[in-house]
């Protein structure tokens, strides 16, 4: 009897392993494999211009922390994020709150704000370049018509990160807004009714007593994904500034690209990628911990 049951259990276990095998193999191949390969490459002096490679231990990492270009890229990324993150979060939240209660135009406005998300950023970057042109750009024409000095948005080291942040904002706000709208829609209506009965009918009270706390899981998600997006800035830099002027827009991912595909230092680029991976992992961890805490509380 028990032997038969044992073999049944074994057969079930085998079937279970057989069923998860295809997915497991794909996950290993597509996600885990490349990560291991990059970590492996970061411990070598592999370049694209020479056959063969040798292990160099942690040399790439020590070089990285001594590298002025790395510090510069990190600083540029943080400055860019400081422009980008608050806007990407609060402008989206504000738009979502403003649109949410509209009955007639909500869907129209949703589509309008979401349109940039659907466009190809590399192509739209060229449009922005034309708009921001220091001489014939529409923005500068507008500025000078008000008697202001023209600004070389993409050519001035003091402005370029802010200008890139503005373009990124334009492209992400619609997406974050839709996330916030989904979060707002999920708040039960009757909580606002209860709040009105309890005397919280002032918009400020409604926001801080109901909307903001109920929106917390969405906010954490938006904050974390937007932070990751900030560190992934690449295409507008590649298309518009190539890291210039004077490396003032050379952000982290662009530096990695330069090291790997322009200077062919694949080992070093791999080390940069691993650092980037660690950074993203920290953000993902924060989000997981925060959302777990919400569920448990």
């Amino acid at each position: 009897m028990s032997a038969a049951r044992g073999s049944l259990a074994r057969r079930r276990a085998l079937l279970a392993y057989a069923l998860v095998a295809p997915a497991s193999v794909l996950i290993l191949l597509i996600y885990i494999g490349p990560i291991i390969a990059v970590i492996f490459a970061s411990l070598t002096d592999y370049t694209l211009v020479r056959d063969g490679f040798s292990f160099v231990g942690l040399e790439n990492y020590t070089a990285m922390f001594a590298d002025e270009a790395f510090a510069n890229a990190l600083r540029n990324t943080v400055i860019y994020a400081a422009f980008f993150l608050p806007g990407a979060f609060f402008i989206s939240l504000f738009l979502a709150l403003a649109i949410q209660s509209r009955k007639k135009f909500r869907s129209v406005l949703e589509v309008l704000f979401f349109l940039p998300v659907t466009s190809t950023l590399a192509a739209m970057a060229l449009v922005w370049a034309a708009l921001m042109d220091s001489r014939q750009g529409v923005i500068n024409n507008t500025l000078t018509s008000f008697g202001l000095e023209p600004v070389n948005f993409l050519g001035d080291p003091g402005f370029v990160l802010a200008a890139l942040a503005a373009i990124s904002l334009w492209s992400i706000i619609g997406f974050n807004m839709v996330l916030f709208l989904a979060g707002l829609t999920a708040i039960p209506r009757n909580l606002y009714d209860a709040a009105a009965i309890d005397g919280a009918d002032h918009p400020v009270d409604r926001f801080f007593r109901v909307t903001w706390p109920m929106l917390a899981p969405t906010s954490v998600f938006v904050a974390v994904t937007t932070s990751i997006t900030a560190f992934k800035l690449f295409d507008t830099v590649a298309v518009l500034t190539k890291g210039g002027p004077a490396r003032s827009s050379e952000v982290f991912l662009y530096l990695t690209f330069l090291e790997g595909f322009e200077y062919f230092n694949m080992g070093y680029a791999a080390a940069l990628s691993v650092f980037f991976l660690g950074l993203i992992f920290v953000f993902a961890l924060i989000q997981t911990l925060l959302s777990d805490r919400r569920i448990n509380s």
Partner: protein
Amino acid sequence: MARLSLQGIRKSFARTEILKGITLDVEDGEFISLVGASGCGKSTLLRIIAGLEHPDEGSVSIDGKPVDEASPKARNVAMVFQDYALYPHMTVAQNMAMPLIMGRLPMRARLPGMRLLTPGFAPLRREIATQVETVARQLRIDHLLERKPAQLSGGQRQRVALGRALVRNPHLFLMDEPLSNLDAKLRVQVRQEIVELHQNTGLTFVYVTHDQVEAMTMSNRVALLQEGRLLQVGTPDDLYSDPDSLSVARFIGSPEINVLPAQARAGGFEVGDQFIPVPHQLELGSDLFLAVRPEGVMVAGAGPRDGRQMVTLAVTRTGMEDLGGEIILHTAVKGLPGIDLRARLQKEAGGVDLDLRNLPLDLNLSFSPRSCRLFAASGARIRAGAERAASLPTSLESVG
């Protein structure tokens, strides 16, 4: 403590008229139930009283003062929602303190993180906490104050919702089907507790329910709504014994009232093949409906005779529900196709030597015309005499 007055309330949602002119006065300290099938507009009416919805026409007054422009806060109403609407991110104590914090603390002390920056309000905050604890003790939820709603059972959540409504001194206490999410046993218990709450507080209660048993057992008066109109307002006994229309008679009472077709004849009416004399002024030959409660129906010859003519119908037994103390007998009336006659028979009825378990398949059921109510084909009640006076007994024979 307050009187509530509704004048000609009308409300439509997207061209569908939900409320078609509701006029209702509720006395100070009264417990009134708004009862009706789902979709009859009772919840909308409650929300209009609360100030959460605004009527298209008509006016709401509290203590004689129109409050149509007033917010729920200004109306000072407390409300318990069907699914309780507790704030999931707040503890029980914070949930219950909400109306007090909103009512007593100024904005600068209410904003998040202002507790430490406004030490001047610490005594007021302590007072609020004490008040919350007092109410929590009354409701026996003081051991749950630090929990969040997700960690509570349905009954506990219900109490928190009651507590949140009770911590302040509202003019009106509004309840929107507060028991519908509880299991049957708890429902009976909480029903009793709400009645006690009403007696202890003396507040004016407006209670919305689709369950006529709740409405009948809890309230001083019941207002029956159907399709946006008030069918009848009266004491539970008024609605049960003296319904204004067939709809009211059918809605109130379980099992449902029996309705038999009848024809008006000179000096009385005919049901089945029997002529029953009544003193009513009936239009000759018109179709009537005769309604009799299941407890008024008995097995022919077995009931106590009152010496008057009984209506007796030959029926075929179609089903029996044994409820323990009583039996609900379902029968089909012979010669009246499609007409069910239900009888509620007491097992321990005095002087009945009848074996209810072994009733024959074919039998005769009878009822006294005294226990009948007569309705016109339109469903309107036909009463003896022209005028309707609520104090008059209006069963058929007692007037004649």
